[in-house]
C-alpha cells in the first residue's frame, strides 16, 4: 500500500489489477476459498492480541458461550468467548463496560465476519475485582470474622506444623527451608491444594478442613507465592475465608508478597507478608522459649552450685574444729558417763554426716541426670568434681572419728578405776565416802573408813595410824 506522504510527489500509478488489464492466468476463487485464505492469513498473523474497547451486544447463550461486540469511537469487532473461558470470569460482563480482551483472530465463514476468539477478558483497571473484594470484606467484617478477639496466639511449641499450599509453588519450598534451618526437628504436614484457577478456592477450603483434623497439628500456614491479583484470587473467595475462620487451630495466612492483601489475611489469626515470613513466625516463639529455658536452667544450677560450695565449707569447718580433742581429754577423767556421751556424740555426728551425704547423693544424682545442653556440660563437670571432693571429705572425717573413738575407749578402759581394782588394789575412802585417803596421817585411831574392792566394799575402823 502507498503512504499518504508519497502523494504530493508522484501521480498515483494505475492499479495493476485493473479489470481490463489482461490477466495471463486468470484464477477464480470461490467465496469459501477466498474466505478460507483470509482466515488463514488472519489466524496466522494474529495469534495473540490484546485489544481494549467497550462491550456491547453482550449475550451469553444457553450453550454457555458469550457473544459480544467490542467497539471504540471509530470501529468495532465481533467477539466470542467459549464456555470454559466464561466460567473463569469473576465479574459480570455487561454492555457499556470498558474491558481489555485477549485472544486470537478468526473468521466466521458463514457471515464473512472476522472476530476475536476471546480467551481472557478483564475490566479496565480491575475495578470489578476490587468491587468484589470490597463487598466480601464488608460482609465478613460485619459478621465479626475479622475481630481482634477472635485471633488466637500461636503455640510456643507446635507438635506438628500444617501447611496448605501447592506442591508446585515456591511457597512450600520457602517454608520448608526456613523451618529446616531454624527448627531442624520440626514435623511438617503438607496438604497439597491447587491455589489458582477454576475450583482452587474450594480445593483450599477442603484442604483446610482436612488438615484441621490431623491429630497433633497446632498451627496451619495457608498461602502461596506471588502472582497477579487473578492468581491470588482464590484467597479472596468466601469459601476460603470461611474455611480459614473455621480451622480449629491457629492459622497464618501467607499469600503473595508483602503488598498483596487478601481476604484470607483478614480472617487468619496472623498475617505473614510472605510464606518464608510465616515459617519464621512459627519458629520465633519457640526460639524465645528455648532461650528462656536455657537461661532458667542455668540460673537454677548456678544457685545450687553456690549452695553446694557453702555446704562444703561448713563441712570443712566441722572437720577442723570438731570437739574430739577436748572430748578425749575430758573422757579420761569423767569415766563411763563421759564415754557414753562421747559415743552418743560420735553417733550423732556420724548420723548427721550420713544424712548430709545422702542429700549430696540426691543432689549429685539430680545434677548428673539433669540433661542440659552442651553449654551446661561445663557446670555439671564442675559440680561433679566438687561433689567428689565432698564425698572424700566426709568419708575422711568419719574415719578419723572412728579412730579417735576407738583409741579413747581403749585408754578409758586402761584408766578405769574398776580395772585397777581388778588387779588387787583397793581404794580407801573416808567414812562419808567424800574423799579418798591417800595418807595414813589423814586418819586417827578409831576413825571409820570405807574400802572399795574389786567386788564389794568394806566398812573398817582404824586401829592405829
Amino acid at each position: 500500500m502507498r503512504s499518504l506522504f508519497d502523494m504530493p510527489f508522484e501521480e498515483p500509478e494505475p492499479e495493476r489489477l485493473e479489470p481490463e488489464s489482461p490477466a495471463p492466468r486468470r484464477r477464480i476463487l470461490t467465496v469459501s476459498e477466498l474466505t478460507g485464505k483470509v482466515r488463514m492469513l488472519l489466524e496466522d498473523r494474529f495469534t495473540d492480541v490484546w485489544v481494549e474497547g467497550e462491550l456491547s451486544n453482550c449475550r451469553v447463550w444457553n450453550t454457555g458461550h458469550m457473544y459480544f461486540t467490542l467497539k471504540d469511537g471509530g470501529a468495532q469487532i465481533r467477539g466470542v468467548m467459549f464456555r470454559s473461558a466464561v466460567r473463569t470470569l469473576r465479574f459480570k460482563a455487561q454492555d457499556g463496560l470498558r474491558v481489555v480482551a485477549r485472544g486470537r483472530l478468526t473468521v466466521y465463514d458463514a457471515k464473512g465476519e472476522y472476530q476475536i476468539l476471546c480467551e481472557h477478558l478483564e475490566p479496565e483497571g480491575l475495578g470489578a475485582l476490587q468491587l468484589a473484594f470490597d463487598q466480601l470484606k464488608r460482609r465478613l467484617s460485619s459478621e465479626g470474622l475479622f475481630d481482634e478477639r477472635r485471633k488466637r496466639r500461636l503455640p510456643a511449641l507446635p507438635r506438628k506444623i500444617g501447611v496448605v499450599t501447592s506442591l508446585e509453588g515456591a511457597a512450600v519450598r520457602d517454608i520448608i527451608q526456613v523451618l529446616r534451618r531454624r527448627y531442624p526437628n520440626a514435623h511438617i504436614v503438607i496438604r497439597p491444594t491447587r491455589v489458582q484457577g477454576e475450583g482452587a478456592a474450594l480445593d483450599i477450603a477442603r484442604a483446610m478442613a482436612a488438615i484441621g483434623k490431623v491429630a497433633g497439628i497446632d498451627v496451619v500456614i495457608v498461602g502461596r507465592g506471588g502472582g497477579s491479583i487473578e492468581d491470588l484470587w482464590a484467597f479472596n473467595e468466601e469459601v476460603t475465608a470461611r474455611a480459614i475462620a473455621g480451622c480449629p487451630v491457629p492459622t497464618i495466612s501467607a499469600v503473595g508478597h508483602e503488598t498483596d492483601v487478601t481476604i484470607a489475611d483478614f480472617v487468619a489469626d496472623l498475617r505473614a507478608p510472605t510464606p518464608s515470613a510465616a515459617a519464621e513466625m512459627v519458629v520465633a516463639r519457640r526460639d524465645d522459649f528455648c532461650a528462656r529455658l536455657d537461661q532458667l536452667a542455668h540460673r537454677v544450677n548456678a544457685t545450687m552450685l553456690t549452695r553446694l560450695h557453702r555446704c562444703e565449707s561448713r563441712l570443712r569447718t566441722l572437720e577442723a574444729r570438731s570437739g574430739y580433742t577436748g572430748v578425749r581429754g575430758r573422757m579420761a577423767m569423767r569415766g563411763r558417763y563421759v564415754a557414753d556421751l562421747a559415743h552418743a556424740l560420735g553417733r550423732a555426728v556420724r548420723a548427721r554426716m550420713a544424712a548430709r551425704e545422702r542429700s549430696y547423693q540426691t543432689m549429685r544424682l539430680s545434677l548428673e541426670t539433669f540433661d542440659l545442653r552442651r553449654r551446661l556440660a561445663r557446670i555439671r563437670s564442675r559440680l561433679i568434681e566438687v561433689d567428689g571432693r565432698l564425698s572424700v571429705a566426709s568419708a575422711q572425717t568419719r574415719h578419723r572419728a572412728d579412730r579417735q573413738l576407738r583409741s579413747a575407749a581403749a585408754r578409758l578402759e586402761a584408766l578405769s578405776p574398776l580395772a585397777v581394782l581388778g588387779r588387787g588394789y583397793a581404794v580407801c575412802w573416808n567414812a562419808e565416802r567424800t574423799a579418798i585417803i591417800r595418807d595414813a596421817a589423814a586418819v586417827a585411831a578409831g576413825d571409820r573408813v570405807r574400802v572399795t574392792l574389786a567386788r564389794g566394799e568394806l566398812a573398817c575402823e582404824v586401829k592405829k595410824s
Partner: protein, 85 residues
C-alpha cells in the same frame, strides 16, 4: 508425661518462679533441694517437649492418609551442602 505439669508454657512459668525463690531467699537446704528437684523435673519436661517433634515431612493426601513427602521436599540446600562437605 508428668501429670503435675500442664504444658510447656506452664512449665516454663513455674520454673521461672522456682528460680526466683531459690535466688531470693536463704531457704533451708531441705526446701531448696525440693525446689531444685522440681526445677529439674520441669526443665526435663521442657527439653523432652523440645526434642519431641520428629524431623519429618509428610503429605496428607486426598484420602486423608499421611505419607512421607518425596525426597525433594525433605532436603534443603543447607543439608545438601553439609552432606557434600
Amino acid at each position: 508425661m508428668d501429670p503435675t505439669i500442664k504444658d510447656f508454657e506452664a512449665a516454663i512459668a513455674e520454673l521461672e518462679s522456682i528460680v526466683k525463690k531459690l535466688e531470693e531467699g536463704d531457704l533451708p537446704l531441705e526446701t531448696s533441694l525440693q525446689l531444685y528437684e522440681r526445677g529439674v523435673q520441669l526443665s526435663r519436661f521442657c527439653h523432652a517437649r523440645l526434642e519431641e517433634a520428629e524431623r519429618r515431612i509428610e503429605i496428607l493426601n486426598e484420602r486423608g492418609q499421611l505419607r512421607p513427602a518425596p525426597e525433594a521436599f525433605g532436603e534443603d540446600d543447607e543439608t545438601k551442602s553439609k552432606v557434600k562437605s
